[in-house]
């Protein structure tokens, strides 16, 4: 089955090509069937691959030469490792459900087929990114993911906000991409290869023992820092400095893609796209790519404690920052968007403190419950036609299935046992604690409290109380309820894949040897996590259970509320210190160019222009000018020729 692994990304690509050619002539049902079946087939193959890996272990990469560049050949190929087998299953599962959901959500849209076409390309790009065995190829898919999100966020191109959000997403992530680009180039200059395994272990790995991080990370350290056969590192850098520099550059890419501080500003705006797109971006594709990058490059980060610390601190800071912003937003999708930023921070925090398994486990559970939250939000928006929390309410009775699904997602996000998020988030917190990062642990815990509060604030405002609008909300069709049900089930039970008494995922990811840091079970910390989550929910219930209380709380918190509500003014800050200065410089240079540089030219050549003006209307004028220049040329030429003769 692993030999067929290439089919996993190729099937959605085929759907894309089919829809590109014939999409406009097909009925909506046919379009949906093509796209959903393709991705569902990818899911089935992925599942088979994962089982195969569980039974027989990872398979060596299959590569073929792509381009001879300088003295080396760059190969492309695909690989099946424990990490990416799991990712393939997760990505294809969530994507298939989102694609199915879109059938109901996008019904009647003038560019229905185009929407599915872009979604298929998006899924292809993400699956390709996950399955590749090579950093350059990874980067290609990475950028393709970015472009697809640009197209999809800006899908309703006629909305100015959507157009602006799409551009913002592309440019902000582009800043990160340049970091990754430079990091990739430096790694190539250092190791003369783009293959992950060769970068990490100095050779194409043929023995399954070392594959995909099954190899002790120390092996890479040995290879990079002291190993034989290593080329001179660029710029005469010391090995430790080189590893730290490249790891940080790679991380810059992940910061952009996974919306970490300070490049987090694009993700909340990106919800201007259709809601299924948000679900895809926030759960299975785009933002997951950044975390996957750090996980795939884990040996590099392991070899640099400094870089790992940066990852952990950026992650922790982002987790609390976004959670604080999420407390006060009025737009249902915006709250969920900030929760994504915050949860991605947890994953980075995990990877930064070395908790490889916990980070990936949280990536997986988060994909389920975040897709669920976005799709339920989509279902709500579809029904009430507003995104403002204060115009909803009372949907518990009107939309019972959506209510139950959202509740499952919210409990998972809040980290309430036994829902999925509890297990993974707790692992991260306990890893932070037991690795001695008490500050990060405390930060994570506070963020967890805020998380539980803001998501239940959304829940009470949306589903509790009485409906405030004038429409008649009801459940969507089967295409919408099936995905909700499936994801709700996963958000409820996915945590059991990796519990202290049955750590299946840990075993699966580490079946060739321990990777990173795996905290010991700490029941005390588990209780703390659960209590903090419940406390957050309790506070939300208190605040929104009775009218007026929330407003009084907001007033009491004064400027803190204003800060949070205005997202700590990051957009305004960046506008002042980056966007406007660049515009101003550009305008100034444009002026200088036109009136000063070209002005000088005109001044110098004024004679020629006026001289030519008299001849302008004669046909011969042009010829004469040319003749003049040629004559002048020959004269200058003779002088120069004489001069050069002298030089020699």
């Amino acid at each position: 089955m692993t030999g067929l692994a290439w089919l996993v990304p190729v099937l959605p690509l085929a759907a894309y090509v089919l829809l590109l050619i014939g999409g406009r002539r097909l009925a909506e049902g046919a379009v949906t069937s093509i796209a959903v079946l393709a991705v569902a087939a990818s899911f089935v193959i992925s599942l088979a691959i994962m089982i195969q890996v569980a039974l027989h272990g990872p398979q060596p990469a299959v590569t073929f030469p792509w381009l001879v560049l300088g003295s080396a050949t760059i190969s492309f190929g695909f690989e099946v490792t424990s990490l990416n087998a799991m990712m393939l299953v997760m990505v294809s599962f969530v994507s298939a459900l989102v694609l199915l959901f879109s059938r109901g959500y996008m019904r009647g849209d003038a560019r229905f087929a185009r929407f599915y076409q872009y979604l298929s390309l998006f899924v292809f790009a993400m699956l390709g990114l996950v399955i590749t065995s090579n950093l350059l190829e990874f980067y290609i898919f990475w950028e393709l993911v970015g472009v697809c999100s640009y197209l999809l966020v800006g899908f309703w191109y006629f909305k100015p906000e959507a157009a602006a959000a799409a551009k913002k997403a592309f440019i902000v992530t582009r800043i990160g991409d340049v970091g990754l680009f430079v990091g990739m180039i430096l790694l190539y200059l250092g190791f003369h290869t783009m293959n992950f395994d060769t970068i990490f272990y100095g050779q194409a790995v043929s023995s399954p023992y070392t594959m995909a991080h099954g190899a002790p990370a120390l092996l890479f350290a040995a290879h990079a820092l002291t190993g034989p056969g290593i080329h001179a590192l660029p710029y005469g850098l010391a090995p430790a400095a080189f590893v730290t520099l490249t790891a940080l550059l790679v991380f810059v890419g992940a910061v952009g893609k996974s919306a970490q501080f300070p490049l987090h500003v694009w993700l909340p705006d990106a919800m201007e796209g259709p809601t299924p797109v948000s679900a895809l971006i926030h759960a299975a594709t785009m933002v997951a790519a950044g975390v996957y990058l750090v996980a795939r490059m884990f040996p590099l980060f392991q070899a640099s404690p400094a870089a790992s610390d940066v990852v952990a601190i950026v992650g922790g800071f982002t987790a609390i920052l976004a959670a604080l912003i999420g407390l006060t937003q009025h737009d249902i999708k915006r709250v969920i968007a900030y929760s994504t930023v915050s949860q991605l921070g947890y994953m980075m925090l995990a990877l930064g403190v070395g908790a490889y398994v916990s980070g990936i486990f949280h990536l997986m559970t988060h994909a389920f419950f975040k897709a669920l939250l976005f799709l339920t939000a989509g279902s709500v928006i579809h029904a009430v036609e507003t995104q403002d929390l204060f115009e909803m309410g009372g949907l518990r009775k009107l939309m019972p299935l959506t209510n139950a699904a959202f509740l499952a997602g919210a409990l998972a996000l809040s980290g309430i046992p036994p829902f999925a998020g509890f297990w993974s988030k707790d692992e991260i917190l306990s890893a932070a604690f037991s690795s001695g990062n008490y500050v990060l642990y405390a930060v994570g815990l506070i963020a967890a409290f805020c998380t539980a509060f803001y998501i239940f604030r959304v829940y009470f405002l949306t589903f509790g109380g009485e409906y405030k609008g004038d429409r008649h909300p009801h459940e969507g069709g089967l295409a919408m309820t099936i995905p909700l049900t499936a994801l709700a089930v996963m958000a409820t039970v996915a945590g059991f894949f990796n519990t202290p008494w049955a750590p299946w995922i840990a075993n699966f990811l580490q079946d060739r040897g321990a990777v990173g840091y795996d905290p010991a079970v700490n029941w005390g910390l588990m209780v703390v996590s659960a209590v903090v989550g419940l406390a957050g929910i309790g506070l939300a219930y208190y605040a929104y259970g009775a009218p007026g209380r929330a407003q009084r709380m907001a007033q009491k918190s004064g400027f803190l509320y204003t800060l949070s509500f205005n997202k700590f003014y990051f957009d305004e800050l960046y506008d002042r210190i980056v966007t406007r200065p660049i515009r101003a410089i550009a305008e100034a240079l444009g002026f200088v160019d036109r009136w000063i540089i070209d002005g000088l030219v005109r001044l110098v050549s004024g004679g020629v222009y006026t001289g030519g003006a008299g001849l302008r209307y004669g046909n011969t004028g042009q010829i004469q000018t040319y003749g003049l220049v040629t004559l002048f040329g020959v004269a200058v030429l003779l002088i120069i020729a004489a001069g050069i003769g002298g030089v020699l």
Binding site: P234, G590, I644
Partner: protein, 515 residues
């Protein structure tokens, strides 16, 4: 088969002459002749490309004819002026590029309705000149065709351009005319120095020393460069002469102001030929003559050259951000992209040189496509002003889509030709100048800024009522745009289609100059 290159030059030139004899009334006959000649020339270029021996680094498809013999030029030895053609891995892709852009420009010129016959006459001559420049294997031949491109482009701008056309055309003529003069000085110096050196004359030769043989053959000069080195002083001086010529020729900052003016005034077909092919000649000169024949001079001034490249990258991108007219924006974008090539050439790394050739081809295709798509929308909206556009995705979905592809390709999106070019360019640049290259990467962000900003205002946004009833791409436009898009994606996905032709030559150059 050896005549293929010669034929690519001859066919458009003959067709131009033929067009003169077609009655002006028979515009469709003129178009037919032109299109046929361009297509045939392209097929010959393609045949040569396919038949090119990828394992050899020498000039292939040699063809030479003596034009003029000056008896007793050097004592008793005559000076032989020849037309000689040939191509190696650097020029071969550019010849094919000329063919593609030439044919598409000819198709695009269907929208010209004034002085049709003359337009095609000059366009065909320009195409012949461009083929000639890249296919020459001789200094005289090269210069002859370079001058041909100068005159023909001048007429194309000054007759079929917009209101400010004469001024722009004159500016174009003066700048590039001066560049030609400087270049000619460089050529003479080059041939003279190599001749003197080849005869083993002492380094201190006085003016008036007459070598008994003067070779203008490029392959021969290259083979001599493999045997001995010119003196450092000669290389430095000559390199600076070449660099000056290239800075003007290629519109590098601060000698660039003629290019935006020319692009703003010229018609779309001419813009495709200028932006797509003509603006690659300067850097081709640097690759052909400076890198191969004056490596130590280049090395001496590598940092200066790289710095000039970076200045153009950043300056071009920032000024592009301030442009209000699509054509001027594309002009500055092209200046910025060519800055990348200058930086990579200065790195003197094999990968960098390979990236340079990739970028010349990629930027040629993408610039021509950008001009084509922008021209197609302007045919309909009657404007190139970005602020007057908006929401075109609705009424012109195909043209808008192609414009987006071209913009994203220029941004360097992987899967299209721009990315692999940038990757190779920066690989070379980072190996030699980490700091300069790091500053250069800012261009990768700025390019996204100005192109996506322009896209946001052109195709996104609410549709303007005046553009409700526009008709989308016609079949002929479909074909042209599809060809460009297909080539850009082909190179992006399977770069070996270009890389295999370039690689051997570049490796051999790098081996010779020790890069």
């Amino acid at each position: 088969m050896n005549d293929a290159l010669f034929l690519t030059v001859l066919l458009p030139a003959l067709a131009a002459l033929f067009v003169l004899f077609v009655p002006a009334r028979a515009a469709s006959a003129v178009r037919g002749v032109s299109l046929t000649a361009q297509l045939l020339a392209l097929l010959f270029a393609l045949a040569a490309y396919i038949g090119f021996n990828k394992g050899m680094a020498v000039f292939q498809f040699p063809f030479a004819a003596t034009w003029l013999t000056v008896p007793n030029a050097f004592g008793t030895t005559p000076l032989v002026i020849r037309f000689a053609f040939g191509a190696d891995g650097i020029s071969m892709p550019l010849i094919l590029l000329t063919g593609v852009v030439g044919l598409m420009a000819s198709m695009r010129s269907h929208s010209i309705h004034e002085r049709v016959k003359e337009h095609y006459f000059w366009q065909l001559l320009l195409t012949a000149g461009l083929y000639g420049v890249f296919a020459s294997a001789d200094l005289f031949t090269f210069f002859f065709f370079l001058e041909a491109t100068l005159v023909t482009t001048y007429f194309l701008i000054s007759v079929w351009g917009n209101e400010g056309r004469r001024r722009a055309a004159t500016k174009f003529l003066i700048y590039r005319g001066l560049a030609s003069v400087v270049l000619l000085a460089g050529f003479i110096g080059l041939a003279y120095s190599y001749a003197v050196q080849a005869q083993g004359a002492s380094m201190q030769v006085y003016l008036g020393f007459a070598p008994n043989f003067l070779s203008l053959s490029i392959p021969q000069l290259i083979s001599e460069a493999g045997k001995f080195q010119l003196s450092i002083a000669a290389q430095d001086a000559l390199y600076l002469v070449f660099l000056l010529a290239v800075l003007v020729e290629e519109a590098f900052v601060p000698f660039h102001t003629w290019l935006p003016d020319a692009h703003e005034q010229a018609d779309t077909g001419t813009n495709m030929l200028i932006g797509g092919v003509l603006m690659k000649i300067g850097l081709y000169i640097l690759l052909r003559f400076a890198v191969e024949l004056l490596p130590q001079g280049l090395q001496q001034f590598a940092w200066l050259t790289g710095l000039l490249g970076v200045i153009s990258i950043i300056y071009g991108a920032l000024v592009a951000l301030a442009q209000k007219d699509w054509r001027r924006l594309i002009a500055f974008s092209s200046i910025s992209h060519m800055g990348l090539v200058l930086l990579a050439i200065a790195s003197l790394q094999a990968v960098g040189l390979q990236g340079a050739v990739f970028m010349l081809v990629s930027s040629g295709l993408l610039t021509a496509l950008l001009f084509y798509a922008v021209g197609a929308q302007a045919d309909r909206t009657k404007t190139f002003e970005i602020k007057n556009l908006g929401g075109l995705s609705k009424s012109l979905p195909v043209i808008s889509g192609v414009l987006l592809v071209a913009a994203l390709g220029s941004v360097g999106l992987p899967g299209m030709s721009g990315f692999i070019s940038e990757f190779a360019l920066f690989l070379g640049s980072f190996a030699t100048f980490p700091w300069l290259a790091a500053v250069g990467t800012l261009g990768m962000i700025l390019v996204a800024l100005y192109l996506l900003y322009a896209m946001q205002r052109t195709t996104f946004g609410p549709q303007r009522t005046e553009y409700d009833q526009l008709a989308d791409a016609r079949p002929v436009e479909y074909v042209a745009m599809a060809v460009f898009v297909a080539l850009v994606i082909l190179i992006g996905v399977y770069p070996s289609v270009l890389g295999d032709v370039v690689h051997t030559t570049v490796q051999s150059i790098a081996g010779r100059i020790g890069g």
